[in-house]
């Protein structure tokens, strides 16, 4: 049913498109008006824009229809289906207009559709993998492409001389020119086809990297031979050839340098954009596009420029920018890149339906196909065989087959073909046709057969693995070990260079390009740790929801209590913004504030502001265009909410089963407080300091892991969030309840002694009745311990009047 609707929608759009197109051709004469027109037909004002928008919409609708049914896309890659949709659309337009009004023009392609795809590739490039295999990639890109071009051109010329192609007006130079434009493996096509096949990463990166870097060679070859064709055969002497070779280096390195310069600029920019986080993501796109255009302006390799821009800036951008901005960049880039790719493929299909360009020459076309295929295999196998002798882990034969088979030609070749000058090259149309046929052959046929081939040959696939912490640590350790062994054995190897680069980067680049606050957080192991924690939290939530543990939420008093808990134990921005703050908590805040005055300077106004501010927030949500912090807090609130729910689930579970101790929440304060913490305390696991996203669940089981040193009041000084306004009502783990790992508000479950693991200190004063525990737990709101057999924490200020027994609260 849904498919039917979509199809209908598609048809309507198509009809609209055709209608619009016919209208477009009709001119609009400005006749003098005789009376005031209420509504006028203003097509001519916005015809171009309308058509552009309409075409984008139509292309994306094609994609929608194609992706509606995964059973088809499993066998035929999406790109092939898009081309077919292009055929259909082209046919309809041809039927309506009797000529092909729309085709993929080089300008649109090279300046509006390609840059974002390349920027996306560069930004999401796996850097480590890329640079590890850079040698292989470069060899394939440069030498492989030159070989492809030369061999194709010369073979075709040979065949022409031999008479296989009949009567064609193409000289040797033109053959070479044709060879150069056909030689390049296309990144768009490679991405589109390999995307669905998931081969192992080394294989993918070599093919993909080659497709990106060969642009340097393609541009040079194309321009060189184009110039040669213009100059004519007679004027080519050694000087020109030398110039050609020099131009390769200039174009390739120049393009890369432009890209690197823009990458550095982006990194520097993002370092300073803290105050305009709203439009921060936009900078990446604008600068990326500028790098493309600048290289193009200087006739350098634009693709290389954009690629290296993305490759360089990704690390610093991700470190400098706020998390939401990073996500924005990631998703926006994907939208642009994928959208452009769709449009490219559809138009590749449309452009074919044009009678004007079709010139058929069986010999030429078939021979081109054959030679491209064969020479690709020869080139890849030969080069890789040589490379394998220098590789630590040689690439297997099967992988080489896929590498050769993956040499897909795409829109870049077509774009270059259309750029040919028909005055100099009489057979331009033949070349365009051949290019189109080659593109269709590679994208459609090779695309369809790629997956079966990969399966049949049992190519090693990409492994989707989760990196465990131990793995990550050990990987790092391996790196260090290898460097050390290289030092000891006195030889300079890969790792030497890598560590040298790392030192250079740490010393010079990171201080320059990264924000100081971001620099502190730079650590892979910690990052993995952080990500794993976040994942855990989400998993527990889903699990909790599935088992229906949201029951307690519906219980009113529970909510209240929970809320209070949150307010008391949370720092800024963690309140559930759903319900108004109960007045009870304010009172309690007042009390606790008084109580804690000795320990730290508490700002009562701040406290009130904090709460009032929060309650208003829920209404502001969604209206402000510039204050995104609201949304972030909402997310954090949800996270804390989920975390607490999960906690309850665990304690419920363990209460029922009495099996394993529930998990403690061990949270980590922000970095600024870390230093303070470190200096003040030794090893204390139980820092209940809250920060927005850093928290972790650990199996609090053994007392052995706990340090007996107990958090003192001075601890609380460190529980400030980065914003500086602390929740003074929060009382950290002064009580062994925390060690007992049962969230006090759920402490009605009996304290099975097997579940608790008190520290040495707490063992001295173990609360041995549920009432006591509960009372103490609830007394988190107060800073005093009413427990007379309290642990000897002398820094505790004298207790206020204790609140009434907990029964009223729960």
């Amino acid at each position: 049913m849904a498919t039917l609707w979509r199809f209908t929608l598609f048809l309507c759009m198509l009809l609209m498109a055709c209608g619009g197109l016919s209208l477009a051709r009709g001119g609009h004469e400005a006749a003098p008006i005789t009376t005031l027109p209420i509504v006028t037909w203003k097509w001519h004002h916005i015809s171009v824009q309308y058509l552009v928008a309409l075409w984008i919409l139509v292309c994306w609708l094609c994609k929608l229809i194609i992706e509606a049914n995964h059973s088809v896309t499993n066998y035929i890659p999406e790109s092939a289906l898009l081309i077919c949709s292009g055929f259909i659309l082209g046919g309809m337009i041809w039927g309506a207009d009797k000529m092909q009004t729309f085709s993929l023009s080089p300008t649109v392609f090279f300046y509006f559709l390609l840059p974002q795809i390349i920027l996306d590739s560069g930004y999401h490039m796996p850097n480590k993998l890329f640079f590890t295999n850079l040698g292989a990639i470069l060899i394939h890109a440069v030498i492989g492409t030159c070989w492809n071009a030369a061999s194709l051109g010369l073979s075709l010329w040979g065949c022409h001389m031999g008479g296989a192609m009949g009567d064609l007006d193409i000289g040797l130079l033109q053959y070479l020119l044709f060879g150069s434009l056909m030689a390049a493996v296309d990144p768009v096509a490679v991405l589109a086809v390999f995307d669905q096949v998931h081969v192992n990463e080394v294989l993918f990166i070599i093919v993909f990297g080659e497709s990106l870097l060969n642009d340097g060679v393609t541009v040079v070859l194309f321009n060189v031979f184009d110039a040669f064709v213009s100059l004519g055969g007679g004027r080519i002497n050694a000087a020109e050839i030398v110039k050609g070779i020099v131009s390769f280096f200039v174009v390739a390195f120049g393009g890369s340098l432009v890209g690197i310069a823009f990458g550095i600029l982006i990194a520097l920019l993002t370092r300073c954009t803290k105050n305009i986080q709203i439009i921060e993501p936009g900078f990446i796109f604008v600068m990326g596009y500028l790098s493309y255009l600048t290289a193009e302006m200087l006739s350098l390799s634009a693709i290389l420029s954009t690629t290296f821009c993305g490759v360089l800036c990704q690390k610093y951008v991700r470190a400098n920018m706020d998390e939401s901005s990073v996500q924005t960049v990631k998703y926006a880039m994907k939208v642009f890149a994928n959208g452009s790719e769709t449009i490219i493929f559809v138009f590749l299909g449309i452009s074919a339906i044009d009678k004007v360009i079709w010139v058929w020459n069986t010999g030429f076309i078939l021979l081109t196909l054959l030679f491209i295929f064969v020479y690709r295999f020869i080139g890849v196998f030969f080069l890789q065989w040589i490379l394998n002798r220098y590789r630590l882990v040689p690439i297997e034969l099967i992988d080489m087959v896929i590498m050769s088979y993956g040499g897909l030609r795409g829109a870049v070749a077509y774009g270059l073909a259309v750029l040919l000058d028909e005055n100099k090259i009489k057979e331009k149309n033949l070349m365009i046709c051949t290019t189109l046929i080659v593109v269709y052959f590679t994208v459609i046929l090779q695309g369809i057969t790629m997956k079966p081939l990969v399966m049949w040959l049992k190519v090693k696939r990409a492994e989707v693995t989760e990196v465990s912490l131990l793995e990550k640590m050990t990987n790092k350790m391996f790196n260090h070990t290898l460097v050390a062994i290289e030092d000891i054995s006195g030889q300079i190897g890969d790792n030497y260079f890598r560590s040298k680069w790392r030192h250079f980067e740490e010393k010079w680049m990171t201080p320059l390009l990264m924000k100081p606050s971001a620099r502190k957080k730079q650590d892979e192991v910690f990052d993995v740790f952080h990500q794993l924690n976040l994942k855990d939290a989400m998993e527990y939530v889903t699990e909790g929801e599935r088992s229906g543990s949201l029951e307690f939420v519906r219980n009113d008093s529970a909510i209240l209590d929970f809320k209070k808990k949150l307010e008391i134990t949370d720092m800024i921005g963690f309140l559930c913004s759903r319900d108004p703050i109960p007045s009870v908590s304010l009172e309690m805040h007042e009390q606790t504030m008084k109580a804690m005055r000795e320990a730290e300077a508490v700002d009562a106004h701040h406290l009130l502001d904090q709460h009032l501010y929060k309650s208003r927030k829920q209404y502001r949500h969604g209206f402000s265009r510039s204050d995104f912090k609201i949304n972030r807090d909402e997310k954090e609130v949800q996270e804390i909410f989920q975390r607490t729910m999960r906690n309850r689930l665990e304690s419920f579970k363990s209460a029922k089963m009495g099996v394993s101790p529930p998990k403690t929440i061990v949270k980590h304060s922000k970095k600024e407080q870390q230093e303070k913490v470190k200096t003040k305390r030794g090893n204390n696991k139980l820092i209940f300091s809250f920060s927005f996203l850093d928290f972790e669940f650990s199996e609090g089981d053994s007392a052995s892991g706990y340090d007996s040193s107990y958090p003192s009041f001075s601890m609380r000084a460190t529980y400030r969030p980065g914003d500086g306004i602390e929740n003074p009502a929060f009382v950290p783990d002064l009580y062994p309840t925390d060690l007992l790992q049962i969230p006090p508000w759920l402490a009605e479950s009996e304290p099975d002694s097997s579940m608790v693991a008190p520290s040495l200190r707490a063992q001295a004063n173990l609360p041995n009745s549920p009432m006591e525990m509960r009372r103490m737990g609830l007394l988190r709101t107060s800073t005093r311990s009413t427990d007379t057999k309290q642990m000897n924490n002398d820094q505790f200020p004298p207790p206020p009047t204790p609140p009434p027994p907990p029964s009223g609260h729960m």
Binding site: A484, V525, V677, G682
Partner: protein, 194 residues
């Protein structure tokens, strides 16, 4: 040709070493030269200060551990054959060898490489990586940006993930299991030792 065979005579048990480690004679010679270079006082063995004289090791976070790895338990000197045997761990694995049991004995088999790595963690050689040992490694590798509590949590979590028999320490088998997806060959091999 003549000089190489006479140099090979310099090396004690050259043939035996070659068989046990899989190094070629050219490699062995190179390593012997390096050994002599490191052995400044020409004592015929290396001591810790010889290793420490190597420049880069001071800047390596686990440099000390690597040096310790060369000195098997108790001894404080390293002779050439031990030197070579340790370095043999880092040879890339030969893929074409038949697996008639010879593979397992070579120092550069996957198990042996993992064992080497394991011993880098397990300093007291009790066969288990305890939380404290893990912490020490973390402290060494993560530096000052990370606080003590975070280190503890990371160590805690790492053990949690890898520890299958819940004895709060990582045994060699658990270590092996948690690294089964890692391509040890690439990660623990040095090309020129091939």
């Amino acid at each position: 040709m003549g000089s190489s065979s006479s140099s090979r005579n310099k090396i004690p048990n050259a043939q035996e070493l070659m068989d046990q480690t899989g190094f070629s004679s050219a490699h062995l010679l190179r390593l012997y030269d390096r050994f002599e270079c490191l052995d400044r006082d020409n004592r015929g063995y290396l001591s810790p200060d010889d290793f420490e004289a190597v420049g880069g090791l001071a800047m390596n976070p686990i440099g000390g551990r690597i040096i310790d790895a060369f000195f098997s338990s108790g001894q404080d000197t390293v002779d050439f054959s031990s030197f070579v045997r340790i370095l043999a761990h880092f040879r890339p694995t030969d893929r074409n060898r038949n697996k008639e049991g010879t593979q397992q004995e070579l120092p550069n088999s996957r198990t042996r490489k993992l064992k080497f790595a394991f011993q880098l963690y397990d300093l007291d050689r009790d066969g288990k990586i305890s939380r404290e040992e893990l912490l020490q490694v973390l402290r060494a590798m993560l530096g000052l940006q990370v606080t003590e509590e975070q280190l503890q949590s990371i160590a805690e979590r790492a053990i949690q993930e890898a520890d299958l028999d819940k004895d709060d320490a990582i045994s060699f088998d658990e270590f092996k299991k948690s690294l089964e997806k890692v391509d040890i060959d690439t990660k623990m091999s040095i090309g020129f030792l091939k």
